[in-house]
């Protein structure tokens, strides 16, 4: 899914050319595929100081 109409409209409001809005939308559509990552390839990252499971119990509540 690329940019929605509301976002496109706000870019038009900033006088961004239509061709660039289309290109932005295409980039965003491609990148949003990242949400398809399977859980088994997501690790703790030192860039985020992410601590999986911390305080989450068995995860049923989240």
């Amino acid at each position: 899914m690329g940019l929605n109409d509301t976002t496109k409209q706000s870019l038009r409001g900033r006088s961004i050319p239509e061709i660039e809005i289309d290109q932005v939308s295409e980039f965003v559509r491609y990148i949003r595929n990242v949400d398809q990552f399977p859980e088994e390839v997501l690790a703790e990252s030192p860039n985020l100081r992410f601590i999986p499971g911390y305080g989450h119990g068995n995860g049923e509540d989240i």
Partner: protein
């Protein structure tokens, strides 16, 4: 445009200066002559520090005569990509929006180069903000490939590669976030590599993606690349022990294990495959342990890399983009705008995937 018969390698130049066979001033003058001859055609440099380089070369020669201890790059001219801070100079990343960005201190890697005795001779052209792999998009105009001027030089460290390949300097620095040292090195027939993250500080590098940016050397041979990179390396990193790595090459330490990744279903050009196979055979002859493996999740890796780079670049340049939209090249500002529409969840997942992938 690749005539460099009067030029030596980093190692040769440093040795000749040390042995009093030449002077730093003579070497810098040779480089300046070549720059004047070919740079008007190839557009590798955005600024040449002629007076300052000659002055520093003269100081370097005086230091040698006085018997002071000399660094590994004593008197060796080095060019720097235009996104590396040089005290008192402009850091523009070849983007018109930053044409007045004068900085007050050296980047950490530049400090280290100077401490090793290098002479900073000028600043090189690049793909705007390092946001592209061709070198064709730059406020200074494109740098041209010295082997064939109808082709691009590769990027984003285009000017650094062109400067070394055409004999204007024996070594130059680039930065690499997704190939920006390795692509121009390949396109211009040089050695360039992306050192292990954090082994060379990126403090004072105008960022593209602060968690993925690297500083790397562009040289004419492997030994020169090792010497230049080692001179910039953070203490305690394996790269700082460049000499010990050299010992390893000579078989004095246990040979390294080298991974050899393939992407299933992806075939390289036959001539490239041949060279890679030859290199692997030689490595095996020297006792290296080659470990082939298949790269998985390559599409996810690409999207993860883009998500991180887009998010970080857009966060860093958000204010500048709002104030100076017209002063960014269209292909760059489109990517900067795209990064503003990536969710934090996507960014976080991309960082987590990256960590998994690096293992």
């Amino acid at each position: 445009m690749t005539d460099r018969e009067n030029q030596g390698t980093v190692i040769e130049i440093a040795r000749r200066i040390r042995m009093d066979e030449t002077t730093a001033v003579a070497v810098v003058e040779l480089c300046l002559r070549q720059i004047k001859k070919v740079n008007p055609i190839l557009n590798a440099f955005v600024e040449v520090f002629e007076e300052e380089a000659l002055q520093n070369a003269s100081i370097a020669d005086a230091a040698r005569v006085s018997g002071r201890e000399l660094g590994p790059l004593h008197g060796v001219p080095v060019a720097l990509k235009a996104n590396l801070d040089i005290k008192g100079r402009l850091t523009t990343s070849c983007c018109a929006a930053f044409r007045n960005n004068r900085v007050t201190s050296d980047a950490a890697c530049v400090e280290r180069l100077r401490a090793a005795g290098a002479i900073i001779i000028g600043q090189t052209n690049m793909h705007e903000l390092a946001y592209g792999g061709t070198g064709e998009v730059s406020s200074a105009g494109p740098a041209l490939n010295p082997w064939d001027q109808s082709r691009n030089a590769g990027g984003s460290s285009s000017g650094s590669a062109v400067a070394v390949a055409s004999g204007m300097v024996p070594a130059a620095l680039g930065t690499d976030t997704g190939g920006s040292v390795r692509i121009p090195a390949a396109a211009c027939g040089l050695v360039g590599f992306k050192p292990t993250i954090n082994s060379i500080s990126t403090k004072g590098v105008m960022p593209l993606s602060w968690t993925m940016d690297h500083v790397g050397p562009l040289t004419r041979n492997v030994t020169d690349a090792l010497v230049v990179a080692s001179a910039m390396a953070e203490e305690g990193s394996p790269l700082a022990e460049g000499v010990r790595v050299g010992d390893r090459y000579r078989g004095e330490l246990k040979p390294l294990k080298v991974g050899f990744g393939r992407i299933p279903g992806f075939e390289v050009d036959a001539s490239v495959g041949e060279v890679v196979n030859e290199a692997m055979e030689k490595m095996q002859q020297y006792g290296y342990m080659l470990k082939p493996f298949n790269l998985a999740y390559t599409k996810e890796a690409h999207v993860s890399w883009l998500s991180i780079m887009y998010s970080e670049a857009s966060a860093y340049y958000a204010r500048a983009l709002e104030k100076h939209y017209e002063e960014f090249a269209p292909s760059v500002r489109v990517q900067l705008e795209a990064g503003r529409h990536i969710s934090s969840v996507t960014y976080l997942k991309a960082q987590r995937f990256r960590t998994h992938y690096e293992r």
